[in-house]
Symmetry: C2
Subunit: 173 residues, 2 copies
Amino acid sequence: MTTDTAWLSTEESAAWVRLIALAELLPGALDAQLLRDAGLTHFEYVALMSLADAPSRTMRMTELASRTNATLPRLSHVARRLEARGLIRRFPCPEDRRATNATITDAGLELLADAAPGHVETVRASVLDALTPAQLEQLYDIAGAVLARLDPEQRLTATSCQFSEGPAVARAG
Amino acid sequence: MTTDTAWLSTEESAAWVRLIALAELLPGALDAQLLRDAGLTHFEYVALMSLADAPSRTMRMTELASRTNATLPRLSHVARRLEARGLIRRFPCPEDRRATNATITDAGLELLADAAPGHVETVRASVLDALTPAQLEQLYDIAGAVLARLDPEQRLTATSCQFSEGPAVARAG
DNA sequence: CGATCTTAGTTGTACCGACAACCAAACGTC
DNA sequence: GACGTTTGGTTGTCGGTACAACTAAGATCG
């Protein structure tokens, strides 16, 4: 036994339970809609979106893995499947012959453009529409405060992960 | 093409990206600590905690699955492993001979009691300590509003999932 | 009560992600 | 410029979850 544990107060426990429930349900809801309507997991969607947003629609595997919170083996497997479906292409990086670059193909952009409306609709229906503008700002601050601890280097928040009339996808639309 | 999609505003997109990052990172952080220190996934921890909180430390498989957002097959597999480790016991329900009851054993309660302090510490360090009391209340409301859509029957929030000097675990401590 | 339907749970199969092992290329040191 | 180290990436194996198929038991209705 070290020092006595500081158990959670009623308020802390209540908020925590809800946060856990939210973190448990949200990924499933997003995966379900995207898989049903576009044959993509949310992870694949975010990965493709990151590529679509990148300069020349291209990114190093390592950087893409970092931005999507994936291990490199995981990304490698996912990339192989996406490449087999013709949604991305991989080729060795000229500057560093160890590295691999991944590029989203036109077919990939097209699939994204098809998938985006339904996804945005789901995001609105399941989350955003439930919040007031004030709550939206509070959520931004709260998540920011927590991410400062969980993701101090801001790897995940560097990506836009959203359309909002982004340049790369506007081209494909 | 149906109606034009209502893309996300800058504020919406920013808050959404952070929420997704949070939902992506939090489960991994919880799993990592619990697996390292107690050999339990967060899901197993919550399942055991639900049993510890239940009357007679016992619950039907179906209800436990509902409370933990698990499919019944998933819970069945997890229960088999937990039972093999001596942390729970399963036996047919007397009232309904289709049903199975699961009970947490003394060893299970002991493991929970051992695991709880480290888990609570992680919860504080990664989330709660980053928030002001006002933000804690905002989080409660925000998550509540979202869960009203994702979990309208409040299956997940019915459980306490926390110690906070709960009765069952106090017995085992 | 017997046929059918629904509910509770387990088991088998397929897929996905974690981890470890491995290979190749760049870097640092002398 | 050879050698050990580090970095970038892929492949193989294992464990866990989803989905489907199946068994058993209660419920419904004639």
